[in-house]
Symmetry: C2
Subunit: 404 residues, 2 copies
């Protein structure tokens, strides 16, 4: 096994992998070293798959949609399929291969990410553009998987709690808290695995851009204890349809307005206020006033954020709604926003991508209400669509505005 390390390199290079990028590994099948993905110095990327008997291999890219996301690969005489893309923007991507109709992960790439029920191989092209979510030589916070009792939902549930670097050493310091909510189909792991929130917070805090804060990442599915495989109740009991497509876009909300389906029956929002916040405020060194409490969420979590801040208008001074809005305005909702405004939250932040056809329009409705009612709001309209690529950016833009 170790001898392989000394075999001649016929395909690929043995240059040091970029930080955080999968290092290449050997493919025994033809006794040659094959690397995939290989990132070239100009940010072109070569994808390779050794499959001499296949008739057709396609690269399937999660950063594109429709037909253009499926890229034909070409086979050479030895049975090695490959395609070169780019130069690609610096970003973290997901991809799969399709071999004669079968969707598979890249066998040569050990790095995998899970989004809802779909796994994809990770391609990270690191550089300036990914700096804010790339692990760096800075002080790191602690990420804890914490179980708590939820009488509201009659479950023992799990959440992730990020405590910033220094929390354990500064034993008298108290910290503000950001409650950070995921989208439909996600779970308490989503903001870490896909959103890279702990690394984003490490980097923002180390640079002095954000105040040291605790970040609480809950599970927004009110019938689910924890991510699949980690809880006594199985994934089949998560309360949402099990059938998803292999090529489903990331965390598409079941309903735009965030007010239909049993993920959105208000029970999660109630448990957040009655179970989660009291747990955090009794178990961590936390500043417990409204001005030290922020909440933000994406997609379904943006719906949760709207719901909880309207129902409990005295709880949060900072509100962030990412890629979500108001689908149908009505008098009741209008009154709730007026009440919320009367409590003078310090910030109502809304962000959406220009090509997010799921929530662009509803976001405009939300912003119009905020404007009409005189909220101190920020509207951040970016390029891109309903994707983690944007939600990472929104967090990095939102967190520095908190608790100042």
């Amino acid at each position: 096994m170790m001898m392989l390390f000394f075999l001649p390199k016929i395909y690929g290079q043995d240059t040091p992998a970029r930080p955080n990028q999968a290092a290449p590994r050997a493919n025994l099948q033809n006794r040659q070293r094959i690397f995939s993905p290989e990132i070239l110095p100009d940010d072109k990327v070569i994808f390779r798959l050794y499959a001499p008997k296949a008739d057709s291999v396609k690269l399937v890219c999660d950063w594109m949609q429709g037909a253009e996301s499926r890229i034909t690969m070409v086979k050479n005489d030895s049975g090695l399929w490959s395609v070169t893309l780019g130069p690609l923007p610096q970003e973290v991507y997901g991809y799969t291969f399709n071999i004669d109709g079968v969707t598979v992960l890249d066998p040569l790439n050990p790095l995998i990410k899970r989004d809802v029920r779909n796994n994809t191989s990770i391609l990270l092209i690191s550089g300036n553009e990914t700096d804010y979510y790339t692990p760096k030589e800075v002080p790191h916070g602690t990420l804890a998987k914490v179980w708590y009792n939820s009488p509201t939902l009659n479950l023992t549930r799990r959440m992730y709690v990020y405590t910033p670097a220094g929390y354990e050493d500064n034993k008298k310091a108290k910290y503000p808290v950001l409650y950070l909510l995921h989208g439909s189909g996600g779970d308490e792991d989503a903001w870490t695995q896909l959103g890279r929130a702990p690394t984003i917070m490490d980097n923002l805090i180390a640079l002095g851009k954000a105040k040291p804060m605790i970040v609480v990442m809950t599970n927004g599915n009110p019938t689910q204890e924890a991510e699949m495989g980690c809880a006594p109740l199985s994934a089949s009991q998560s309360g949402r349809p099990l059938a998803t497509t292999v090529s489903a876009p990331a965390a598409v909300p079941v309903a735009d307005g965030g007010r239909s389906g049993n993920q959105n029956n208000g029970r999660f929002e109630e448990s957040l206020v009655k179970d989660v916040i009291p747990y955090i405020e009794s178990h961590y060194r936390v500043l417990k006033d409204k001005n030290n409490r922020a909440i933000a969420g994406l997609s379904m979590g943006g719906g949760h954020t709207q719901n909880v801040t309207l129902k409990y208008p005295d709880m949060f001074a900072y509100i962030g709604v990412f890629s979500m809005g108001i689908r149908t305005m009505n008098d009741d909702l209008d009154n709730q926003f007026k009440v919320l405004k009367s409590k003078n939250p310090r910030l109502y932040y809304v962000a959406v991508g220009k090509t997010d056809n799921l929530t662009f329009n509803s976001s405009q409705t939300l912003v119009a209400v905020l404007k009409k009612d005189g909220f101190n709001y920020i509207y951040n309209e970016t390029s891109g669509w309903h994707s983690w690529s944007n939600w990472r950016i929104y967090l990095s833009d939102f967190a520095p505005r908190l608790f100042k």
Copy 2:
């Protein structure tokens, strides 16, 4: 997308998934619902893959070796490949498919585990035999990913710290600590993802079988900050060959004795004593005497455990060596064991599988020394070989013997 949920079920069943088992999901490719793996009531398992154009599909099982681990699947008229195994013993397994020579994960199974650099699809047949590592409705401890400074290794490094249920509420209680070490090629995640140590400890403590204790799971690779993808330094800098085979057995040690290679140069052991233990004892409510300090490790980690307890014989009262022993005895080592015995550790626990041809013989040498020198030792010889299946069992047998 949601309509799929209502399509007729042609393959597979829609019975509730077992606890912790992947729920089935739809395969759009032929607009039928296909499930894989499907566990039948008698613990037979049906594996399925829709690949109409493939000439050959094999199921590759990580719980068998050699030719018998590769099982031919059969294609039906619609292009669906399948094979039924079992009844299988209740256990958590890993498997892949081999499609015309290409090794892939099961596209229908979202649950994946990583061992060293190899990913496999998870098959969990739950039942009495897996009870001790299956998540249950019991109080759960907290698992924290903690970064600490290691001046010894000149790195900021990550470890996992398990604090038992009640740690946050019993704010004056102090706890004993088990330092739990992984094998060659593993990292700080191995005892959680593969060893299921947090769940094992939750269950043992809830049943009153083990005392509440803190469990510290370090990264035993002295040049690595954290598992791949989580650290500023990349996986390529982990100090071990990057080339591993797709079908490599789990965590095979590079060298039996645990004393060759740069994983085994004594620097990790030194950092454990000089960096890790002081961090734990200054940041957690810990009982700091020798009788409340235990250490155990598997394979390379068993070598680390031997090394650190021989070099620092006053540190640990409980010592566990799983699937590791003494390859070459010499006078110096003999003297070190005599010194260790003179400190009267309360327990020296050795466990190995009968068919572990990597470390069975060296384990006998270790046991012979312990017997000769009059240690209070336990030798647990089990069936099986060098695998996580055994290491989970050894932890569940070792932990109840600690701190009594």
